[in-house]
Symmetry: C2
Subunit: 224 residues, 2 copies
């Protein structure tokens, strides 16, 4: 398949495909001549996955590259794949620098991270301690404490128990998938793409619950 066909079948413009090729998001096609390359079905699948992660999940291109690169070289151990996918965080360069600064002036390990480790311990989760998720959770706990919200890691325990049950559903989604690449792709899909779906459902449920509890205040407004 030539690049024009790849473009037609995926709906992605040729310049964008070239950009992904340059950036290593898409492996180069099999070169048949100095100015000709051949792309296969797996390029199409990969391209669709990239578009999904960038377009729907809105991951930065760099993060998608990390995920896909790590996943395709570490093909074999499903747990490793989950770990890699789990560890890839969407942070831009600017934001990274800002984080650096904040971390430095906070003394390299904020109280929130310590609290996050306590929560992990309380839940009995066994994770390798360098996870980005712990830092991420730590940041939120720091912010909650800075804002005097009165919400601490203990108040998050009920949430953690539900998160635990969500993760059980997640690993169930891996059943019945055969190939190695298919498993990797499924792991990416389940752990990354379901994130916006989960948040969306939470928001829908929130609207429902808040209507039942505090609602009725002004109950017109079906118009958009």
């Amino acid at each position: 398949m030539k690049i024009s066909e790849l473009s037609r079948r995926s709906g992605v413009s040729i310049p964008t495909i070239k950009y992904y090729l340059r950036d290593g998001l898409l492996p180069p096609g099999r070169a048949t001549a100095a100015n000709q390359a051949d792309y296969g079905e797996e390029h199409l699948r990969r391209l669709r996955l990239v578009r999904t992660l960038v377009g729907v999940r809105r991951l930065p291109v760099g993060a998608v590259k990390e995920i896909l690169g790590a996943v395709t070289e570490q093909d074999g151990d499903l747990h490793q794949i989950f770990g890699i996918v789990t560890d890839a965080r969407p942070v831009t360069q600017q934001q990274k620098q800002a984080r650096e600064r904040e971390r430095q002036e906070a003394g390299e390990e904020t109280g929130g991270v310590t609290d996050a480790r306590e929560l992990v311990a309380a839940m009995g989760w066994e994770v390798h301690s360098g996870t980005a998720a712990i830092r991420s959770l730590g940041e939120v706990l720091d912010a909650l404490s800075d804002m005097d919200s009165g919400i601490d890691w203990r108040s998050l325990l009920p949430y953690a128990r539900l998160a635990d049950r969500i993760s059980e559903l997640d690993v169930q989604q891996m059943e019945g998938v055969s190939g190695v690449l298919e498993l990797a792709e499924r792991a990416v899909l389940v752990s990354v793409l379901l994130e916006p779906a989960l948040l969306a459902m939470r928001r829908l449920a929130q609207e429902d619950k808040s209507a039942r509890l505090f609602g009725g205040g002004s109950e017109e407004g079906e118009e958009e």
Copy 2:
């Protein structure tokens, strides 16, 4: 309080504060002269909230503006506040345009959105149908179907049930908060800031579960 004190107390640089003032993220201080304005404690709180949403939750500045603007003018009905917060989605201009195009070529209402409505109906959630959350969920369902993942809205029902229980926790977090602005701030905190915390906990639990199920493949690597 002068701008310099606001900067010192918040840890936010003066140019950044000026930028927020320009963009309407922060209400202007009470002008005492042509080149002097006075800021109060509520400016400090607001600034901290902005920094939390931009820095920790990584919302685009425009989205934060929408949320805060809507929340502070609609002070009164807690359900309205939840709805507003719920409806603000972080989308950049570029991405918006891309969405526009995709929606046009898909005929203005994708199958995923229809599926999303079915899921909402199956859960018995009562929401006004224009919600961004439905569109968001629809996009994910579209992507899952495009990728032939075999995951459809029915497979998401177990997730939806857990999301429902999460939302019950969310509304519980509103208890014991008194003032109107305090309630609004709490609603923002709970529904927006807890998002990264939820995702982080899900990832931690995923790592734990995947280790228990598929793990043991290569169990060294405590080093970071």
